[in-house]
Each structure stands twice: as C-alpha cells, then as structure tokens.
Symmetry: C2
Subunit: 342 residues, 2 copies
C-alpha cells in the first residue's frame, strides 16, 4: 500500500489509515456536539450554546457526508451510499433556523442602509436642507421601509420558529437516532474497502468536477463590473433567478467538497486565502439570492401598501446586486487562484 503523508499533523499512514483517522475525528466531533446540544436544550440559559452546538454538529455532518462522497472508492459502497443522504437531511434540517436568522439580519441591515438618516449632504457638497424639503418631502418611502422591515421580521421570525421546532423534532426522531448510531460506529471503526490504497485519484476527481463546473460559469461576464446580469428578468417570474443562480450554487457545493478533500489529504490547515475568498463569495451569493427571494416573496403578501411593495422592490434589486457583486468577487479570487497555482 502507498504511504500517505499527513502533512499538517505529521502522521504518516496508508490511505485507509489517513481516511479512517479523518472520519473518526469528525465522528467524535459529531457525537461531542450532539451531547452539548442535548445538555444545552435542557438548560434554560443555553440558547446560544445550543445554536453553537448545532453549528458544530452540522459542520461535522457536512464533512463526514462530503468525505463519504469524495472517497467512496475507498469505502464500503452500500454503507456510504446509505449514510450520506441521511447526513444531508440532518445538516439541512439543522441549518434552517440559522439560515432564516441570517436572512432576516441581512435584510434588516440592507433596509437600514437604504433608509438611513435623510437629507444628510455628502461631504463633497455640503448644503443646508431647504425649508420646502423638510416640510414637504413625502414620508411614504421611509414609512414603506419601516413597514417592509416589520413584514419581513414577522414572516422570517415565524419561519425561524418553525425551523427550530422542526430541528428539535428531527433530533428526537428515530431517523436521527439511526444516523447517530451509524456515526457512533464510525467513530470506532471505519468500513474501508479491501485494496483501497490511494487517496489522490478521488481527490483529483473532486478537483476535476470543480474545474468543470467553474468552466461552465459566465466568468468573463462576471469579471466585468456592473453587468446588470443578476437582475435580468428579475420581474419576469419568481423562478427566473433560480436558473442563473444554479451553476453558482453548484460550484459552491463542489468547492466545499474540494476543501474537505484537502483537509483529508493535508489536515486542517487554513485554506489558501484566495480559496477562502472564493468560498466566502459563494456563501454571500447564496445568502443574498435567498434574501432577494424572501423580499420578492414578501411583496406578494396580500393587501400590503404600495409604499411597502416599493421598498421591497428596492430591497430585492439591492440583494440581487449583492449576488452580482459576489460573482465579481468570486471571479477576482478565482482568477488569482488559477494564476498563482499554474
């Protein structure tokens, strides 16, 4: 068997040993986080600890699932294929509450930025507001922003509460117990396939998948600032942005698989700055796209005032521009990435 060198930790072992060590480490983290989560939910003051434990649990579940996928040629096929979707279900379910909280925070911050103190002249052009501006400026727009904020807060807080209940219910379910049992087995014994002796081909496959997906992105366009692409057809139908966002979300998933494969191969070093920037940009892409969609969704609430709908339209476009900005940031990071590594 080929010897694999675990650079960061200094351990050396066969491919199977390196893979097993990584999976056992993540499984142990999963079980530790689960224990912390159970303790924190019975503790009245444990809301913050509970969120943190859920985050660590998701983090470990994502890494185990990704590793089962990328390094499946080295693992018991049936076992890996059956556990992976269960881990996805778990991390998706646990992620919802946090995602709604993040989305609401992002939208309220954006509304705050959009409806800050009025009539403050820019430093370059100081002037006193004229009397008629103070007196007759319609307050509709500001009122609309406040109403939009209240509407989003109501809708997303409700969604967050439901997600919280769903997560608690999931953690108490027999489906979850089956996942936890599987992970507990994994912590002591990883079902390796006989004769699996090289981590590099599967990791190279993950790289190639990522490169292929990136090649399918419109990076030339994304690298040209203010291309206005993210808003194209934004008023056409609620599903219009999904089609243009999908390739970016796909790259985000594949970039994660790539990063976790690097962790298996080289240990938990901080990722290269440019890779971290690219990942960050795609996280922003995803959050801003979801926020834009939530604003559009809120605008379809029956019987809202026109000023509220107007504010939600401005907010939607603002978040779609953050999507576009994230694509630009990804393009910049990726360009430097490929330049520096080739």
């Amino acid at each position: 068997m080929a010897q694999q060198h675990h650079e960061m930790t200094g351990t050396t072992g066969t491919a199977g040993e390196v893979l097993a060590a990584y999976l056992q480490e993540q499984a142990t983290e999963f079980l530790r986080s689960l224990r912390l989560h159970r303790e924190s939910t019975t503790d009245a003051q444990g809301a913050e600890a509970s969120l943190e434990a859920a985050r660590a649990l998701r983090r470990a579940a994502r890494r185990i699932g990704a590793t089962l996928h990328t390094f499946r040629p080295l693992l018991d096929t049936e076992w890996a294929a059956s556990l992976r979707p269960e881990l996805s279900w778990l991390s998706d379910t646990l992620a919802q509450e946090h995602a709604y909280a993040t989305r609401l925070h992002r939208l309220l911050n954006a509304l705050h930025r959009l409806s800050g103190p009025p009539l403050v002249p820019s430093p370059a052009q100081p002037r006193a507001p004229r009397a008629e501006e103070r007196g007759s400026a319609p307050r509709g727009l500001t009122v609309g922003a406040a109403k939009a904020a209240a509407l989003l807060e109501r809708q997303l807080t409700l969604a967050k509460t439901r997600a919280h209940s769903a997560a608690l219910q999931a953690i108490g379910s027999s489906r979850f117990h089956a996942v936890a049992d599987n992970v507990a087995v994994l912590a002591s014994e990883v079902p390796l396939r006989d004769g699996a002796d090289d981590l590099k081909p599967p990791a190279a496959k993950a790289d190639a998948d990522l490169a292929e997906a990136v090649a399918a992105l419109p990076l030339g366009q994304a690298g040209h600032p203010y291309n206005a692409e993210a808003l194209v057809h934004g008023l056409a139908a609620e599903t219009a942005p999904d089609a243009q966002d999908a390739p970016w979300l796909k790259v985000r998933s594949l970039l994660r698989l790539h990063r976790y494969a690097l962790e298996v191969l080289h240990g938990h070093a901080a990722p290269e700055p440019r890779l971290a920037e690219a990942s960050h940009a795609l996280n922003i892409h995803r959050e801003a796209a979801a926020a834009a969609s939530a604003a559009a969704q809120a605008a379809r609430t029956p019987r809202i005032a026109p000023a509220t709908a107007y504010a939600l339209g401005v907010l939607h476009a603002d978040q779609r521009h953050e999507v576009e900005a994230a694509r630009f940031a990804f393009q910049q990071a990726w360009q430097h990435e490929t330049v520096s590594t080739r």
Copy 2:
C-alpha cells in the same frame, strides 16, 4: 499681442481673432439651426427634422454660453454677463422634450430587460421548466412591470408634450427674439475687451476648476465596484440622492466647459478617447439619476397596485445602480486620463 495658433484649422491669429472666429462660427450655426427649426415646424412631416434642428440649436447655444463664461476676461463684461443666462434658459427649455423622451426610452428599456421572457434557463444549466412552475408561478410581478411601464409612459409622455409646448412658446416669445437678435449681432461682430491678448489663462482656469471639482469626488470609492453607494439612503427621502449626485453633475458641467475651451484653442478635433469616455459616463450618470427619480416619483402616484409599486422599486434601484456604474466608468476613464497625460 500674442499669436495664437489654431492647430486643427491651421489658422493663426491674435487671441481676440481666434475667440471671435469661434463665437461667430457658433452664432452662424445657431441662426442656421433656428431657420431650419422654423421651416420644419411649419412642415407636417418635419417632426424629426424639428428635433434635429432643436438639438443643433441647443448645441450652439451651449457652446456660446460656455465660451462667454470661460473667456469672459477677453470679452465685454456686461454684454457677456447679460447674454449667458439667457442662453442657459434657452438651451434648458429646448432640452426638456428630448430629456423626457430619453428618460422614457431608458426606463422602458430597463423594464423590458427586467421582465424579459420568464423561465429561460441559462445555457450553463439547461433544464425543462417543471409543471408546477408553469402552472402556479404568480404572474403578479410581470403584470406589475407592464403596469409600471404604462404608468411611466403616461406620465412622461404628458411631461414631454408639455415640454414641447413650452419650447414652442419659448421660441415665439419676445425673450427668445432678444436672444436671437443678440446672437445675430455676435455673428457679425464679437464685442472684445481692449487689451485682451491671451486665451490660455482663462482656459487654464477652466482646467483648474475641473481638476478641483474632480478632486472633491469620492473616486476611491467609485473605483471599487459594487460599493452600493448610489442606493444608500435611497428609501430615506426623495431628495437623498440629490446630495450625492450634485458633485458629479458639477463635474459634468465643468468637463463640458473644458471641452469647449479646447475647441476654442485647438479647433473641433474629436476629444481624446478617454475624455470622451469620461463625458459619456457623466451623461449616463445624469440620465440614470433622472430616470431613477422618475421611477420613485411614479411610485408616489395615488392608488397604484402593490405589484406596480414593487416593479417601480426594482426599477429605481436598477437605475441607481446604473448611476453607480457610471461613476465607476468615469473613475476608470479619468484614472487613465491622468496617467496618460502626466
């Protein structure tokens, strides 16, 4: 008297002669355009010719006014000071109809871009629309865009018609006849001040004014794409964008004075590409800012549907982003400009 060399036309003369030749040329163009405009408005098929003549008339009026301002040390003070505001009034009045037409065109184009054919997947991610998308996608957004287009068309067409009447009324007024008489005098005799012998100091003053105004712009910020500055406080009050737009509009005016001064000194060469790009960017800035303002204004129409207001909000934000894009384009052009000339 110092000799001035008129590079492009090859003419050489005193400062007074060069200045007089330029003003007489523009005055002649003014009178020619005025005659064409009068002929076209009595012709039933002359709408296009009338617009073109009005454009040429404005063009000449702007150049005469700018030259009276920049080179005022070489001209009869009282005469220049009295004619200039009259020329401004004239070109502003004549510009309105065209401005409303341009604004409507820009807004309808933007709405078309924003509400193009729905559910067209991007080439990177081909997929067939699912049945439930076709069936249940709310049509509210598209209806909102269509209603917003109809509302803007109604409001801006009305404004355009009023501007057309106002322009015709202005051209028939005694105030206009006084301006035309003054320009007719100018075509034959330019009232130069005694002892005025150098075009360069006034032209240098125009350059310095421009440089000072550009230095006051937040160019560092503008050069950072997707800074989201143009929408800041966009929901605060209708006058919020004016304060941040004012320094850019000021630079636009001063850049024009600079370009016309170059025409006086060097003849009608095409401006340097970078200078043309910078001017173009500031024209877009002005048009997009006015369009964004028109969308916000339309959203304050009483009793509009929420879907219409939402579409106008998206449109407003879209145009404010065009404003931001124009600032970026100006920064890029200007940066190259100063790099290449220093």
